[in-house]
Point group: C2
Chain length 174, copies 2
């Protein structure tokens, strides 16, 4: 699959087949996250991999709209280490989550090439999520991604509604 | 180029040849950003494309370590619209920049497939950057990416040092 096609055809799904992600595929997904660049090469992101169904349910309880974490055989939480996750100036705030987004997209695209779809889940109760994952003080869950083989209609045939390019793109100035 | 290879071989560069990015390639880079998913499909990200050298220099003055924005023929600022960019609870703070990171990685990978390398630049003076781009009140620059054909050594042969997988990945719990 060429990169551009993977990017523009990727479609997130929230229903997953009862079929595990093979270990070699998991290795590639994790490596894709690890190789993502970061501001000043500071590497603020860490991953917590959840495959156990009870563990996935515990973490799913920390967010709204997380039922897809129950059927997904693989859930990966992106954690920010303290110096990036703490509330401070916008620059500090933005850097960690931005880098987590880069790592997440790498993982989602690598998975997509393997026929695995994915969907993020936000942890609305951030403190509870940190507790479930037993994070050290000051660590934050930037986001959680659920992965699995899509169930139901072929996701590549679905629509991907996006705002018009003219609204999305500005030239030289806002 | 297959997706996994693009991801793990991508290397950011900060030196660019004096060669413009063709319009059709630019179209694909922008489309790659536009097709990135977002939390609740809220689409909090917008792009401002800068190719004019004076405009790039004005924006580069708003951050440290931004000299690569001067030689890069293409600079794209990722802007967050107000409801996502404002300071608030961690959930709100994280969502916009995380989605901007997803869009940025899509654009950087699509560019890489075309032989174009890239490197982010943080805007340390966020208010000045918003002023240069003439952003409406409450809009934030999440990050800026400089793109161009790499100058000097082939970037695919360079090293990409990352922390060990054992430090990066945790299993079932921290």
């Amino acid at each position: 699959m060429i990169v551009y096609d993977a990017i523009v055809r990727k479609r997130d799904t929230r229903s997953f087949a009862d079929r595990p992600v093979p270990d070699d595929v998991l290795d590639r997904i994790l490596q894709a996250g690890r190789m993502a660049g970061s501001a000043r090469a500071a590497e603020p992101v860490r991953l917590v991999v959840l495959r156990d169904a009870d563990r996935r349910a515990e973490l799913a309880a920390c967010g709204n709209s997380t039922t897809h974490m129950l059927s997904a055989p693989l859930v990966i939480a992106l954690v920010l280490v303290p110096e990036f996750g703490q509330v401070g100036a916008p620059f500090t705030l933005f850097r960690g989550p931005f880098d987590a987004g880069r790592a997440a997209q790498n993982m989602m695209l690598a998975a997509w090439e393997e026929g695995i779809s994915s969907c993020p889940a936000s942890m609305h109760d951030e403190a509870a999520a940190a507790q479930v994952l037993a994070l050290p003080a000051g660590h934050y869950v930037a986001n959680v991604i659920a992965f699995g083989y899509p169930e139901g209609a072929d996701p590549t045939t679905g629509t991907r509604p996006r705002m018009a390019a003219a609204e999305y793109i500005h030239w030289e100035s806002w």
